[in-house]
């Protein structure tokens, strides 16, 4: 058993609330509400790969998995999570998969075909989009996937609706034998609000799979028939959605406001604030747009304003519909709201005031009297990545090389910050090794270093590693193994050997994989031990410069986990008699626990976790552990 095999027990968050009695109102995070909706429906299977802002959906389900008899797993990536949940639904077990918006790109292959085969039991695909890119590389609007894949999209306006629509999505999915997408956004998934609970039906976890290749194999002959049926089904789905009570018309007036998803939350308050008479069409199913209801809503109106977050998905469908109806009304939306970032009450008020021609101005703002220093996210005190980045920079300096640092998605993306500046390109999960495959053949004078996390390595690092070995693309791959999926909230992964519910799985060993694949040099080092880490990295560079593929695993538990569990403890202090004020510790590590006081480095006691890397790099060893 590896060190601390059971350390990654799922954190029980609001378990009392999530298991609350029917008809009580409890405080739930949007993602917890989605989980509760699935629990009320009686899903028997859930699989996901964590990603902000989606992670708490399956994290919540994992905390009640054993109690409710639901099979819950963290899969290696979104594609596998999707396929697992899809198969569960094929076998008659209602299921859920959840991912962040970009995760659905990874799962897009099975997604596109799932509409062709349909499902046996309810199947809901939760995509949590991240407008404004709080924690993401792009702000793609996944409602497009619905149009693209012929899969209906439900879009809640708040946590209560997130719960209700999860349930309804599963119910409609089962009734229509078709997958459903639930599109959440950051300000639904990560909003806490009162949620009235419903009855929990028992979980259905055991399925069967009668042999029926005509239904489940998409060989061209079958797929052509399926496409025909799919197009008919799409019309049935649309008419079902027109009757969904969460799509409705409120109020009356000459101006129609079409508010989709979270757009409704802002619209209802903005209408009240401006005191205007408006007809509001509340949309909970942006894809396909409920045609019959829209036709009814546009009757007798002169202007239409569409409020939706991100892309004009409702707007384009609506405009097409108005064209088909040969109805000439003024349509506003994207032209006033734009198509980027999050909606705010101000943005909605401003565009609404323009359409209604009523006065509205943003209140005079209080300006900060002093500009605060920027505070970007940084590596935590004791973070083992800090030491690895330091070693990487030292080794390249000593060997006089200027590597391309091909980065990836995770806490270590923060290596982009000074003093490390060690992320030259970051695109997507697994992109570090994938892109290195290209740079290795085109930029000959600089070695390529691919920096990838442990969970990310399993997620999307294996195929590009095979590619590099097979096609002889020289590169140094550093797997930053902190023994958890840290950035998204410490979910376990194959390298930890712990399953989603905390029970033991089988540990998959990163260095063993690299060896058996045929990497030219494989080693494991402890980044806290700076000297041996430096030796390993220098050797790795030499292998790469000789044309080989080197895989180094920098293994050291995430300092947040280690400090919480007491496996890492202590506080260092600086001996000012020894210190030569070279400020290496301060300038080369940028540790939040080291500041300057009276010209000397000083350890901030309540931040230091006792990793000792500062003392490792100190030329005079002026640091000592005081407890």
């Amino acid at each position: 058993m590896i060190r601390g095999c059971f350390k990654n027990l799922p954190r029980v968050r609001g378990k009392h609330n999530i298991l609350g009695e029917p008809n009580t109102t409890v405080l739930l995070l949007g993602n917890e509400a989605i989980a509760r909706g699935a629990m009320e429906y009686g899903i028997g299977f859930a699989a996901a790969y964590p990603g902000t802002p989606s992670s708490e959906v399956v994290e919540t389900l994992s905390s009640v998995a054993n109690e409710l008899g639901i099979y819950v797993e963290w899969s290696v990536n979104e594609k596998v999570a999707f396929e697992s949940a899809y198969a569960a639904a094929m076998s008659g077990v209602p299921s859920l998969t959840a991912m962040k918006h970009v995760g659905l790109n990874v799962a897009a292959d099975p997604l596109m075909t799932s509409a062709y085969t349909g499902v046996e039991a309810g199947f809901i695909i939760v995509t949590a989009d991240d407008p404004y890119m709080h924690s993401s590389q792009n702000e793609q609007d996944n409602r497009w996937y619905g149009l693209h894949a012929y899969i209906p999209v439900l879009e809640p306006c708040d946590p209560q609706e997130a719960k209700d629509l999860t349930y309804i999505g599963l119910e409609l999915s089962e009734k229509l034998h078709h997958p459903f997408i639930l599109r959440s956004v950051t300000r639904v998934s990560h909003v806490r609000a009162p949620v009235k609970l419903g009855i929990m039906r028992g979980s259905r976890a055991i399925g069967s799979f009668p042999r029926n290749p005509g239904r489940w194999t998409v060989i061209p002959e079958n797929a052509r028939k399926m496409k025909l049926r799919l197009l008919e089904k799409w019309r049935v789905i649309e008419s079902n959605l027109s009757e969904l009570p969460y799509n409705r018309i409120e109020g009356d007036g000459k101006v129609l406001i079409v508010a989709s998803g979270i757009g409704y939350a802002y619209t209802s308050e903005a209408v009240e604030t401006l005191g205007v008479e408006a007809k509001v069409l509340k949309i909970a199913s942006p894809v396909p747009l409920p045609k019959k209801l829209v036709e009814k809503a546009v009757e007798g109106v002169e202007k239409v304003l569409i409020i939706e977050e991100c892309d004009p998905v409702v707007e384009l469908q609506l405009k097409a519909l108005l064209k088909d109806m040969d109805l000439r009304v003024e349509v506003y939306g994207e032209n006033l709201l734009g198509r980027r970032g999050e909606l705010t009450l101000d943005r909605v008020l401003e565009s609404m005031a323009k359409v209604f021609k009523v006065p509205w101005s943003i209140p005079e703002l209080i300006k900060p009297p002093i500009e605060p220093p920027p505070r970007p996210p940084i590596l935590c005190p004791g973070c083992p990545h800090r030491a690895t980045f330091y070693v990487l920079k030292m080794a390249s300096k000593r060997l006089k090389v200027d590597p391309i640092y091909s980065g990836d998605i995770g806490c270590y993306s923060l290596g982009i910050q000074p003093p490390f500046n060690a992320q030259d390109v970051i695109i997507e999960m697994g992109g570090s090794i994938g892109l290195a495959n290209g740079f290795a053949h085109t930029v000959k004078e600089r070695p390529v270093v691919a920096i990838i996390g442990d969970s990310t390595f399993f997620h999307a690092g294996l195929p590009p590693l095979v590619n590099a070995i097979y096609n002889r693309a020289p590169m140094l791959i550093i797997v930053l193994d902190n023994e958890t999926t840290a950035m998204t909230g410490f979910q376990p992964h194959p390298g930890t050997g712990v399953k989603a519910d905390g029970s033991p799985g089988k540990r998959v060993c990163i260095e063993c994989i690299a060896k058996v694949m045929g990497a030219d040099y494989v080693d494991v080092f402890d980044p806290y031990n700076v000297r041996t880490a430096l030796e390993a990295v220098e050797k790795g560079f030499k292998v790469v410069m000789a044309g080989g593929v080197a895989v180094l695993v920098a293994r050291r538990e995430c300092s947040l986990n280690a400090a919480r569990s007491g496996r890492l403890s202590g506080v260092y202090q600086v001996d000012t008699l020894k210190c030569i004020k070279c400020m290496l510790c301060l300038n080369e590590l940028a540790c939040p626990a080291i500041k300057v006081e009276k010209g000397f480095p000083k350890v901030v006691e309540n931040l230091c976790v006792g990793c000792g890397v500062c003392n490792e790099i100190c030329p005079v060893k002026a640091f000592s552990k005081i407890r």
Partner: protein, 212 residues
Amino acid sequence: MPSQGIFKDKVNIVIVGVGGQGLITFGRVLGEACIRRGIDIRIAETHGMSQRGGAVEVFVRIGYGVRAPLVSPGQADYVVATEVLEALRGVRYLKKCGWILISDIILPPPLAKNVPLPEDIITALKKLPINVIQVPADAIARKVGDVRTMNMAMLGGLVAFIESLLPIEVVAEVIENMLGYINKEAFLMGYEEVKNKKSDNTSTNNKICLDK
């Protein structure tokens, strides 16, 4: 949601600080207290990457009919800053003559140059048309014996302003159940501190806001 109209107006609160200071717990306590009182609430949190020592904002909206989760700049009745530098970033959310509660903690970002001094920040803020209250939250937390209770001391300060909406006993009970006794202690001490301070007018130098 059974919303009661005792407080007709909506209350907008923005909590600002540094990732790891317990801002999410701050919001959750307010949420649980609202549930007990049958008052509607929306709490918009920051998770993920920005939590790693970065600047964090939590938006809280309380009252009948709240639906929008975010508070726009210039719309907050209260800004609670659990860190002094973040008060500078958070002040733009404040309404004219709104209240800003500022802790006694300063966490300069690593490698930051020309970090302003806390006393200079407070002096500068007091020249604005707003009300400024300093809460010795870190001192309180040290007194009760756990530096992590700082957030509850700040919450106590906030509740001194909104106790007609959320009675002190209700919030105290939520804290004791959720976080234990010493968190409640810190909360009560923060409450007392601010209750006394807000009634004397020394908290603000600004004549425009004195009568508010």
